[in-house]
Structures are given as structure tokens and as C-alpha cells.
């Protein structure tokens, strides 16, 4: 089913494409259209609008960070792209084809790592390969070894997840995603459960590994710094219900996770701007609740 690929200017805040891309209409790799998702809350037996009218395009090779406070529905958007959640309204297109479920073209790195505790590092990384019927068993060992080297897990091949620190566990999660060779990497606050110092280190590692692989990435975070350092563009989300407030490009030279980058005027300006957008949304939300 061929889908219309135009941007429909005026309906989305990101009508103007990011500066480094060609101005001609390009088929975005990921296209989220008029997406709304509702959940049934079994405790109160009512429906909750988690995400409302989200429109979002991500192009091949782009690193999009999604910034928002916790519980603002950004994870729901990611789960919909992953095919774990069905849209209530609207749709998600990958390469113009509608998403109906998980597929080998997408891999997810989870905030809580989601590693199988009864499998060693190697076996956990292998999991993605096991599930894909087309893979040749003979290649598994080499592919897993490559991934382990890439994320820096050498020497921990036979450890169990519980024996690893949070940062190391997330390296396993990343390796598991990379070894499945997806076109799109979906990362749900992958550094959210990691301590602050490790987080800095891992952020730099992520920038290195992912720019090396050239993958398309959707990266969810609630850290403004992280959103700027990693993203080619930043999509800011508001809460209750989750919706896109603003999408803006980041025109800072890479690699950005080095010391000093965060002190550059461009960086500071962006950070202030994003902070203002988030604050404004939080303030209007709290006023809305108080008024009821």
C-alpha cells in the first residue's frame, strides 16, 4: 500500500526539515502520524489518554532525542514504534509501511536493561539472533564477539547480569540490540538507571558506538544535556496527555561529549531554551490541576 509521503506543512511543528537535510521531500524512515494511544486503567476501570496527536518524522541515519519529564508518554510513543503497543488512533510507518508488531528492523534498549537473569552475557546478546529465523548459526559466535568488543565487554562474556554493574548491564543491552543488526535503534532512557559518573562515561561511549554504526536512533531521555549532546534533533514532549511541544535541530559539531562542549554559547542557549519549554508545560499542567 503506497502511502503519501508529503510533510503536510503547517500541521506539525517540524514542518521545516532540519538544516543538514535536503529540502526536497524525502521518505522519512520513521513516520509517526496523528498518533493517539489510550490505556485501560483496570483499578478505576477507566481509559487514560497517554499520547495525543503526535506527529514525528525521523530520517535515515538521524539521531533523534525525545526529551520530556517522566510519565509524559514518550515511552509509549517508543513502544508504538517498536510495535509493542497498538495505536488507538493514527499510525506509525517504517519506510512507508505500517507497523503492526515488532520486527527485525527495530531493536530496543530498555531503561531497566531487561536482561534474562538466567543467561550469561554471551547468551543474552545471542538472544536476538536466536529469534531471527534467517540467521546462520555458524556466524553467531563471531557476531556476538564483535558486539562484545564494540561495547567494551571483553572479559565479562560468561558473567551473569547480577554480577555486573548497571553500566555494564546496559552495555549488554546495547550489544544485544546491535547484534540483531536493526536499521533503527530505539533507546528508552538507557542511562536512566545508571549512576551519574558512569552516565557521563556511557554517554560518550554511546556517541562513539552509534555514530560509528550510522544507525537511525530514537533516544528517550529526561536529561536536557543528554538530549543536546546526543541528538541531531530534539523533540520536546509535554505531559498529560503526551504530545510534541517543539522539535528543534542541534547544530553543534561532533563529538560533543567532550569537556568544554557544554560550556559553548550555542549549547547553553539551547539548554536554556529547552528548559523554558519544559517549565512552561509543567507550570500550565499544574495550574490546570489546581483549577479543577
Amino acid at each position: 500500500m503506497p502511502m503519501p509521503t508529503d510533510h503536510r506543512p503547517g500541521t506539525t511543528p517540524d514542518a521545516e526539515p532540519a538544516a543538514p537535510l535536503e529540502p526536497a521531500p524525502v521518505v522519512p524512515l520513521i513516520s509517526v502520524r496523528d498518533l493517539s494511544v489510550e490505556y485501560r486503567v483496570s483499578r478505576t476501570n477507566s481509559w487514560l489518554m497517554a499520547v495525543a496527536d503526535v506527529n514525528l518524522d525521523v530520517h535515515e541515519g538521524e539521531f533523534l532525542t525525545v526529551l520530556g519529564s517522566s510519565g509524559c508518554g514518550k515511552t509509549t510513543v517508543m513502544n508504538t514504534i517498536a510495535g509493542l503497543v497498538q495505536p488507538t488512533e493514527g499510525e506509525v510507518l517504517i519506510d512507508g509501511r505500517r507497523v503492526t508488531g515488532p520486527g527485525p528492523d527495530r531493536a530496543v534498549v530498555f531503561q531497566d536493561y531487561a536482561l534474562l537473569p538466567w543467561r550469561t552475557v554471551v547468551d543474552n546478546i545471542r538472544f536476538g539472533l536466536e529469534m531471527q529465523p534467517g540467521r546462520r548459526r555458524a556466524d553467531w559466535r563471531a557476531q556476538v564477539a564483535d558486539a562484545i568488543r564494540l561495547v567494551g565487554l571483553d572479559g565479562f562474556e560468561d558473567s551473569y547480569p547480577r554480577e555486573l554493574s548497571g553500566g555494564m548491564q546496559q552495555r549488554v543491552g546495547l550489544a544485544r540490540a546491535l547484534v540483531a543488526e536493526p536499521r533503527i535503534l530505539l533507546m528508552d532512557e538507557p542511562l536512566g538507571a545508571v549512576d551519574a559518573l558512569t552516565r557521563e562515561v556511557m554517554r560518550a561511549e554511546l556517541e562513539r558506538v552509534i555514530t560509528a554504526t550510522g544507525k537511525t536512533v530514537v533516544f528517550i531521555t529526561h536529561s536536557i544535556d543528554e538530549a543536546i549532546v546526543l541528538g541531531d534533533r530534539v523533540a520536546v514532549f509535554g505531559a498529560h496527555p503526551g504530545r510534541v511541544l517543539e522539535i528543534l535541530p542541534v547544530d553543534l559539531p561532533r563529538p560533543r561529549s567532550e569537556q568544554g562542549v557544554m560550556a559553548q554559547p550555542g549549547f547553553v542557549e539551547l539548554r536554556d531554551h529547552l528548559w523554558g519549554v519544559l517549565q512552561g508545560d509543567a507550570r500550565s499542567a499544574s495550574r490546570g490541576v489546581a483549577g479543577s
Binding site: P104, F110, D112, A114, L115, P117, F127, M131, Y160
Partner: protein, 277 residues
């Protein structure tokens, strides 16, 4: 200077006897405690004779009575009878309890339909049915096996249900992301994740099935360790009765230790977080 400090820190310390035994210290202490209690009992009763020996036997009497029972060949007959009934009933409980728990734990429909009778049966004092079971199934092994089954099946099913429900949902999500279908999710994720709790249920089932053995032989029984306790007490041979009771306790503890061993082998990755059971 700094180098030598580092070196001494990384070099493994030589194992000394006390260090090797350290993890077992408290186990030895408990063992010593039990022996001490037996010794005190022996002194009070066996040497001083505070109470009537027929009513409160001394440790020596108990051991003597047990070895008498063993030598006449009585003990082994009763033991095998009880053990085989218990084994059949217990295996039946595992074979039924685990699938039932899996079904109730993973399907909302199954739970809504099957839950009420399940919990109703669970909340009943099932041993109250023992006289009826004897009426229905006769004086043979039937009711004895069945009551063992009834006692053991519920903890096994309930823990299995809790186990399958408690599976970390992000693990299931992750598996689905990497292309696992329902069958793969069940066999590669849910079953494994539930295994520690299933084994906990099985361990509780061992303990409960011993209650079943005793009740089954107390009411309408003519053989087995429970019956032996009953008969020897009636004949005021309390030394033998106490001895057989201890034997039952020992069997229960050994059975549970075996399940613990299985847990350590098959679920070695599992770290007990909150206190279980």
C-alpha cells in the same frame, strides 16, 4: 610503595582452616545446640529419671526402640508403604499443580472461571474430607495417596501462579522486540523466570504432603509410619512413637533439602530478594 600495596591486595590470601569453615560456623553451632539439647534430655531423663520413663522416654530409649523396630523388619515395611504413597501423591501434585498454576497465572479467562472453585478448595481444611475419602475409596492406598495430593497440590499451584504473574514484564517486552512469539516467550522467558518460585512451591508441597501422609494413616490406616505412631502410642510404647515421629521429621527435612539442592542447580542465577514463603 604503592605497587607493593596493590600487589598484596590482589594476591589471594592463603586459605586457613578457620576461613574455610567460616561459612559453616553457625551450622555447626546449631548442630552442637541440638546435640546439647539431646544430652540435657538424656541426663535429666536417662540418668536422673525425673519423669516416668514410659511417658517421657530418654534419648537412649528412643534409639533402642527404633533399632528394635528396624531389626524386627517392621520399620522398613511401614517406611516403604508411607514413602511410596507419599511419592505417588506428591508426583501427582507436581504434575497437576504446575500446569494448573501456569494456566491460572497466564490467562485471565482461566483465572476468572477457575479461580473461585480453586480458592474455595484451597481455603477448606482438606483433611476434613479424609473420612469421606476412606468411604469413597476404601481402606487401601487410594485415600492416602489422594490426601497427600490434596495437601501438596495447592502450594505448588499457587506459587507457580505467582511465579508466572511475577515475571518481569520488561523481559517479555524485550523478548517480543527481538522477535519471540508466544511460544518462545513462554518457554524461553516466562517458564525460566517462574522456575525459582515453582521450586519454592514444590518445597512447600513436600512439607504439606507429610501432613497428608500422617492424616491418611491416622484415619482408616493399617500400615505406614503414621499408623505406627498411632498404634505405638495406643500401646503406651512412647519411645517407639517418639522415634518414628522423629523419623518423619527427618524425612520431611531431607525432602526439602533435596528440593533446595535442585533450586541451587537449576536456578543458580536466582538471588533471593525478599524473604520467600
Amino acid at each position: 610503595m604503592a605497587e607493593t600495596v596493590q600487589a598484596s591486595r590482589t594476591r589471594p590470601r592463603p586459605p586457613t582452616l578457620s576461613r574455610v569453615l567460616a561459612p559453616f560456623t553457625w551450622k555447626f553451632a546449631v548442630l552442637a545446640e541440638v546435640l546439647a539439647l539431646l544430652l540435657i534430655w538424656h541426663v535429666i531423663q536417662g540418668m536422673i529419671g525425673v519423669w516416668d520413663r514410659r511417658f517421657v522416654p530418654a534419648p537412649g530409649d528412643v534409639i533402642r526402640a527404633l533399632s528394635d523396630l528396624y531389626q524386627t523388619g517392621d520399620l522398613m515395611g511401614h517406611l516403604t508403604y508411607s514413602a511410596s504413597n507419599a511419592a505417588v501423591g506428591f508426583v501427582l501434585a507436581v504434575v497437576v499443580g504446575v500446569p494448573v498454576g501456569l494456566l491460572l497465572g497466564s490467562s485471565r479467562w482461566a483465572y476468572d472461571i477457575g479461580g473461585p472453585p480453586f480458592w474455595a478448595m484451597y481455603s477448606m481444611p482438606r483433611i476434613a474430607f479424609q473420612p469421606l475419602l476412606v468411604l469413597w475409596m476404601g481402606f487401601g492406598s487410594g485415600p492416602k495417596i489422594f490426601i497427600v495430593f490434596l495437601m501438596a497440590v495447592f502450594p505448588i499451584a499457587i506459587n507457580t501462579m505467582d511465579g508466572i504473574r511475577g515475571v518481569d514484564r520488561s523481559l517479555v517486552k524485550a523478548a517480543r522486540v527481538y522477535g519471540a512469539g508466544p511460544v518462545d516467550v513462554f518457554f524461553k522467558v516466562q517458564l525460566w523466570a517462574a522456575l525459582p518460585l515453582i521450586l519454592t512451591g514444590i518445597r512447600m508441597g513436600v512439607a504439606r504432603s507429610m501432613i497428608g501422609v500422617v492424616i491418611g494413616e491416622f484415619i482408616g490406616g493399617s500400615q505406614g509410619l503414621g499408623f505406627l505412631i498411632y498404634r505405638k502410642s495406643g500401646e503406651f510404647e512412647l519411645d517407639a512413637a517418639v522415634g518414628v515421629t522423629f523419623l518423619l521429621v527427618a524425612i520431611a527435612l531431607v525432602g526439602m533439602a533435596l528440593v533446595n539442592l535442585a533450586k541451587r542447580v537449576f536456578a543458580s542465577w536466582y538471588v533471593e530478594g525478599a524473604p520467600q514463603s
